[in-house]
Amino acid sequence: MRFERSHTRKAVALAVASSLVLLASACGGDDGETGGDSGSTGAAALEGKGPINFATGKDTSGNLTNQVAAWNSQHPDEKVTVTELPESADQQRAQMISNAQIKSDAFSVLNLDVVWTAEFAANRWITELPADQFPDLSKLLPSTLDTAKYRDKLYAVPVTSDGGLLYYRKDLLDKAGVQPPTTWEEMVAACAKVKALPEAKNIGCYAGQFEKYEGLTVNFSEAVNGAKGVVVGDDGKPNVDTPEALAGLTALVEGFKTGFIPKAAITYQEEPGRRAFQEGNLLFHRNWPYVYALANKTDGSSKIAGKFAVAPLPGLNGPGTSTLGGHNYAISEFTKNKATAAEFIKFMSSEERQKANVEKTSQAPTWASLYDDPALNKQFPYLAPLKASIETAKSRPKVVKYGDVTTAIQEAAYGALTGTTPPKDALATLQTKLSTLITQ
């Protein structure tokens, strides 16, 4: 009895002691440094040469392996290994963040979505780039360069861009004798005319991306900006509870109510929308440039190959404003070989690489002169409307806590589109929320 009891007591004491030790050790070094390597007054020169790792989502151009191989043969001491991150943008961000949290040097160059720049910069997960080490910045489209800056300091180099385009069925519009619309009302009228045609009786008029995810933020912003409203003003302060924004949002809400936008569109992300368009079930479709090459495929996957064309987005009463997308390459703060990383970024963002990628997939380059290249324009007729789209495009709010901001926007937009919340209330609530979130 004594034996047992004393042993139990010992065991319990041991357990308690070890938990305390664990707690204490966990309490230990959790405070990070408040100073960064590069002072806030100017970016330090990037140093360190050696092998690096490039963390990116899936390469859809098929060119990445060759390009990396080309680099590796030219720089045998500074080899690049590619780590392919999971497919979804959320998971890519989560992996990059968790690596940054543990200050790991596993990733050297990060392929960031444009909306992550502020968050990564403010958290000191990426290094400020000295502008003098990147001479070609002036050759890139200014709006894309803007997405790579945080508080006017350069943190990344834009390598691909994305702007919204209005895809439309040229064959049906021609048959109905209608010009491609430049305003929302023209679009509604055009659809009415097309629906009078016997073969297009049941066609859906318009769909964008309305599922509750980042694409909804993009579409909502486009609706608001197209009505000359803003989500976040140029002064950095939210101002979404305005008559203009209300007009833009109401147009979408009415679209759902009247059936102008098919009911199923509330579940659409990019791919289901593209499918609907390619099946011939949509007359107008808002989507990114990548759809162009896929919808033109003649292998039987697209029923509308050669029958569609692209135009800039229509706004409420005038030309519309697309929301800027794209990807930037940044240097992780925790990698040792920042100089190599910088060189690699310059290599990947150079004109020839971008040109090669345009030819393979209908992505939007950031190199301005590529849009004016006559040969490319002939091969890819979408380049001209795309350039117009990107040049006038607006970025999404550049906020450190972008995740919260986009959730709030999605909440408001989804509520209004599903009819759960009246548009005016949705905007008012959104304005309040954004004011608390965007306090700089």
Partner: protein, 291 residues
Amino acid sequence: MAVAEKAPKMIDVKAAEAPWWRRWLPLLGVAVIVIYCLAPFYWMVVSALRRPTDQFDNSIIPKVWSITNFTDVFKPGTGFGRALLNSLFVAGTVTILTLIVGMVAAYTLARLEFRFKNFVLAIIITTSMFPGISLVIPLKKLFSDIEWINTYQAMIVPSLSFALPLAVWNLTAFFRQMPRELEQAAMVDGCTPAQAFRKVILPLAAPGVFTTAIITFIAAWNEYLIALSMVNKKSIQTANVVITGFTGTSGRDQPFGSQMAAGVVVTIPLVIAVLIFQRRIVAGLTAGGVK
């Protein structure tokens, strides 16, 4: 004798007398169950066997059969073949480790009497209650400090968090059912307790151990979150992670075709193993009969 030879064969009197529906109802029930279980699986297989361009065709039987999805899945770039091996290795190691450690613990809990036994059992069941996602972050921090990220042990060790409690429960119950007379008899014959365990108990406990092994293996094979968080190097990732990482041509789409094909490839070995061993599994369940 003679009467016995002439005795009619046993007939299911009840069934023969019953109205027609009582005879067929169970069979109908069986058919319903089979359809319930297999219909989604059928859809998975069929979706994998369509051409990628027909992916969204909803016909029950594909108009054009194609194994493109399967060949896509095994193309060199996807790393799926390697991922399958990784899954096998991780799940297998987890199972073996769990059995070794768990059997000792289970036998202890089943046979020995000590004061804090209930406390230990309670701890073991409580540790399996914590939400998995919250385990991952602290463990990832710990593992990065000891440089275990992108290693197999980073996936194996955390998997023990759900595998061990599971195995210990199962095995404890199993060992408990076995009469103590067995070990006592062995020890009368001169075995030490350890020898009694090895030579007498273990062979008899085989069905239970086997069942536990299968359960653990399938649970470990299923594991996703830990593998996703601890490893980002493709050559070490498990099949589950790689499947969800499949992208199609545009990087935005969900290539259901190849994901279903990969799903079939991942499932079929398990299904076959389960089918082969289903008698053992059910035997393990009903093994009160350690007579």
